[in-house]
């Protein structure tokens, strides 16, 4: 062939360009911590499996599939460590799959598995709003784990008990908190983090104006503004803390009220002013990327971000507190948190239950709290000295904040659809439509689902 040399060169150039662009895609630009292993958290090892010999004798060699945490922060790494320890001690093979990072996508994944009566996965992570929807497909854990469940926070256990069946074991609790830059508050002479939303707006503006002189990409406040489940959580905090109710209260749709309208319009007015315009496409990691790179003064996020930010440029510079509230309300945090359930169609139910027993045990919850700053669901673990030391949001002042729950109890199997109506409506508001023209439509859609 006459042009063989030329073709080889062209192919090489193409291959190099392809690899280069894929590395750019994988690494991003200023995304922090993508390759750094956690520093402090690596000091703790996963605990041994209690009763391992007896479990090994009965279930050795069986293999179960566990749909675990998404590859977000150090969550997947935590799962890998725990699964490796469990496999090593009991001989039960656990095939770990991370679930999609978007909560609605994770729901869809499980709905597909249950809908087709698949025997896999055996164990799965369930968001706090799903037990009601998935109850018909989950194994009743009361016979084997009922006694153990008495040491857990009873509010969550009740959330996981549907029709008398304990369909899931609480794994970690989560609630929304406010992250703030201690160093910047000091620099601009602000004595304490904001108590009300208006305080937050003022403080954020002050810090942003000062910082933007040297850093054009600095913004005051970031949160989860994308059109997805996370926005329902954030918006619930805004509305409930302003005295606007919990979207659906006592079976009645209350989202369309004046207090909700006021706070949502207030948020809408701040988009592009103290928040980046792009905040309406941020999820948890999107907001955390901005804060962790040092480009935000305040961030609303879940407790997992505390450990995740320890390997970023803002290490040591941030503190946590309760979220602000409206003039007429008090601070709240949306209940997040995950439970572990066993599929009714699993072929290795007992091995799966032993796995759940290990993963939700006090020692493992303590490990989770220290390694990945996951909020324990066993009150005694939450009081452990080292746990509180690595998780400052577990100090009573913050940990006792009032919790608000999303309306899963009233929407049941229609929760996904109802939440979509809520977050699509809020997304429209944040993108510029006044709340007064959006909320009535959302309310009527929810009314159709609740009845």
């Amino acid at each position: 062939m006459k042009h063989r040399a030329l073709l080889i060169v062209a192919g090489l150039i193409g291959a190099v360009t392809l690899v280069a662009s894929l590395s750019v895609a994988a690494a991003g630009t200023t995304r922090p911590e993508a390759h750094a292993a956690p520093v402090k958290s690596a000091a703790i090892a996963p605990p041994a499996v209690p009763n391992a010999a007896a479990i090994k004798a009965k279930y050795k060699g069986q293999s179960i599939q566990f749909i675990g945490d998404a590859a977000v922060g150090s969550s997947h790494k935590r799962d890998l460590k725990l699964v490796a320890k469990f496999q090593h001690d009991t001989g039960i093979k656990v095939n770990l799959l991370p679930h999609p990072s978007g909560s609605d996508a994770a729901y869809a994944q499980l709905a597909r598995a249950f809908g087709s009566k698949s025997s896999k996965p055996d164990v799965m992570m369930l968001d706090v709003v799903w037990p009601g929807a998935f109850a018909p497909y989950l194994l009743n854990l009361k016979p084997k784990l009922g006694k153990v469940s008495k040491q857990f926070a009873q509010g969550i256990v009740q959330n996981d008990t549907v029709g008398g069946k304990l369909v899931a074991m609480p794994w970690f609790g989560d609630f929304g908190i406010l992250y703030y830059r201690k160093d910047l508050l000091k620099k601009y002479g602000i004595s304490a983090p904001p108590k009300t939303w208006n305080d937050l707006f003022t403080q954020a503006k002050k810090i942003q104006d000062g910082e933007q002189k040297t850093n054009k990409n600095f913004y005051g406040f970031v949160f989860q503004g994308n059109s997805y489940e996370g926005l329902t959580c954030d918006a619930l905090e805004w509305v409930a803390s302003a005295g606007g109710g919990n979207f659906i209260d006592n079976g009645k749709v209350t989202i369309n009220n004046s207090k909700a309208k006021t706070i949502l319009d207030a948020m809408r007015n701040q988009i592009g002013k103290i928040t980046p315009r792009g905040v309406t496409s941020y999820d948890e990691e999107g907001a955390r990327n901005v804060f962790a790179a040092g480009n935000a003064a305040f961030m609303r996020n879940w407790p997992y971000a505390y450990a995740a930010n320890l390997t970023t440029p803002v290490k040591g510079k941030y503190g946590v507190t309760v979220l602000p509230h409206g003039a007429a309300g008090h601070s709240v945090g949306t209940v997040g948190g995950w439970q572990l359930g066993v599929s009714k169609y699993s072929k290795h139910k007992d091995a799966a239950i032993e796995f759940v027993r290990y993963m939700t045990s006090p020692k493992v919850q303590r490990f989770n709290a220290i390694f990945n700053s996951n909020v324990p669901t066993i009150p005694s673990v939450a009081k452990d000295k080292q746990v509180v030391k690595t998780n400052p949001y577990l100090t009573p002042a913050i940990a006792n904040v009032a919790r608000v729950t999303r309306p899963a109890k009233y929407l049941k199997t229609h929760y996904n659809e109802g939440s979509k109506d809520i977050y699509q409506g809020i997304s429209q508001i944040l993108n510029g439509t006044p709340a007064g023209s959006v909320l009535p439509g959302v309310a009527s859609k929810l009314n159709a689902l609740v009845k």
């Binding site: 392809l18 895609a25 054009k216 997805y228 792009g278 480009n295 229609h414 996904n416």
Partner: protein, 311 residues
């Protein structure tokens, strides 16, 4: 299949070909049946199932209610569904913008790469790189580039004084569609260019030499020689791209997720079936998408038949 000759007319009908012809037809069918069976299993069966579901109220998570036949109720709801209408309009806008840009740019690139210059071989390989990157990877890459806080596009634009400040390309409703179109145009122009290049290479050079002798300008040569002879390749490229653009999903999903103002038909179908679990209604949406795409195919085929006659 009847070989009965009509009794009144003189028996002019012959038997269906000779023995050899019949044997060859039989062999042809035998060789085709495996392929047809696969097509039936992979394409016809799911399509049939979807059409069947569209007449029921099937849900993903059944609960207590059994599935029942609801006739045309899903379609009646679909007719009044404003969200679906917005999605269709959004998709059609996207299709018109991307296909026209890809066609024009692809044509220019194909003409350039068709001519002889040093490094032409290398150029032909390199120009395919965007097409080679998986769509989801490319979309995520572009999403980070478009970011208004740490994105490279805003950073470079502000430094070079092209923009006065960072724009939130993805979040602003006015630039959202444009930003997504740019990604798709970047990715698939090479594909269109390749199809047109293949068509260009088949045009005999003597036509151009004859035109030069007759004193035709380059532009006249393009309109009178290149375009007409390129028509089959153009139509293939247009049909491929239009059908792909009407079914677009990945890049919109990575950029916007479930955002209400940027939903395409495919995203709406996915969110209805998988997110909400309404398999019955979602199947009706899917059938509607199928019919809309079928409409575009019919338009193209008609155009092809009309023009195919006079050359």
């Amino acid at each position: 299949m009847s070989t009965v000759a009509t009794p009144a007319a003189p028996p002019r009908r012959r038997r269906r070909g000779s023995k050899l012809q019949r044997r060859q037809t039989r062999i042809g069918w035998v060789l085709l049946i495996p392929a047809l069976a696969v097509v039936a299993l992979v394409a016809i069966y799911p399509l049939g199932k979807t059409i069947y579901y569209s007449f029921t109220n099937q849900e993903f998570l059944q609960g207590i209610e059994p599935t029942k036949w609801v006739g045309l109720e899903n379609y009646r709801t679909l007719w009044h569904d404003t969200i679906f209408r917005t999605a269709v309009w959004e998709t059609v806008k996207f299709t018109l913008i991307t296909v026209s840009f890809e066609f024009v740019l692809g044509m220019i690139i194909a003409l350039v790469v068709n001519s002889s210059f040093k490094g032409r071989g290398a150029m032909r390989a390199v120009m395919l790189v965007p097409w080679a990157i998986p769509t989801v990877v490319a979309a995520q890459m572009w999403k980070w580039m478009y970011d208004d806080v740490y994105g490279v596009i805003n950073d470079a634009g502000v430094r070079l004084h092209i923009f006065s400040h960072s724009h939130a390309w993805i979040s602003e409703p006015s630039t959202a569609l444009g930003s997504v179109c740019a990604v798709d145009i970047w990715k698939t122009t090479p594909f269109v260019a390749l199809l047109l290049l293949a068509g260009l290479q088949v045009i005999p050079q003597d036509l151009y030499e004859a035109a030069n002798v007759d004193g035709a300008s380059k532009i006249q040569q393009f309109w009178r020689i290149t375009l007409p002879l390129l028509r089959p390749a153009i139509l293939v490229a247009l049909i491929f791209r239009t059908l792909d653009a009407l079914r677009v999903f990945d890049v919109f999903y990575v950029f916007f997720g479930n955002r209400p103002d940027t939903q395409t038909m495919a995203i709406y179908a996915q969110s209805t079936i998988v997110g909400d679990g309404h398999v019955g209604y979602g199947s009706a949406v899917s059938v509607a998408i199928f019919l809309i795409i079928g409409l575009f195919v019919a338009i193209y085929v008609t155009v092809m038949r009309v023009s195919g006659g006079d050359d």
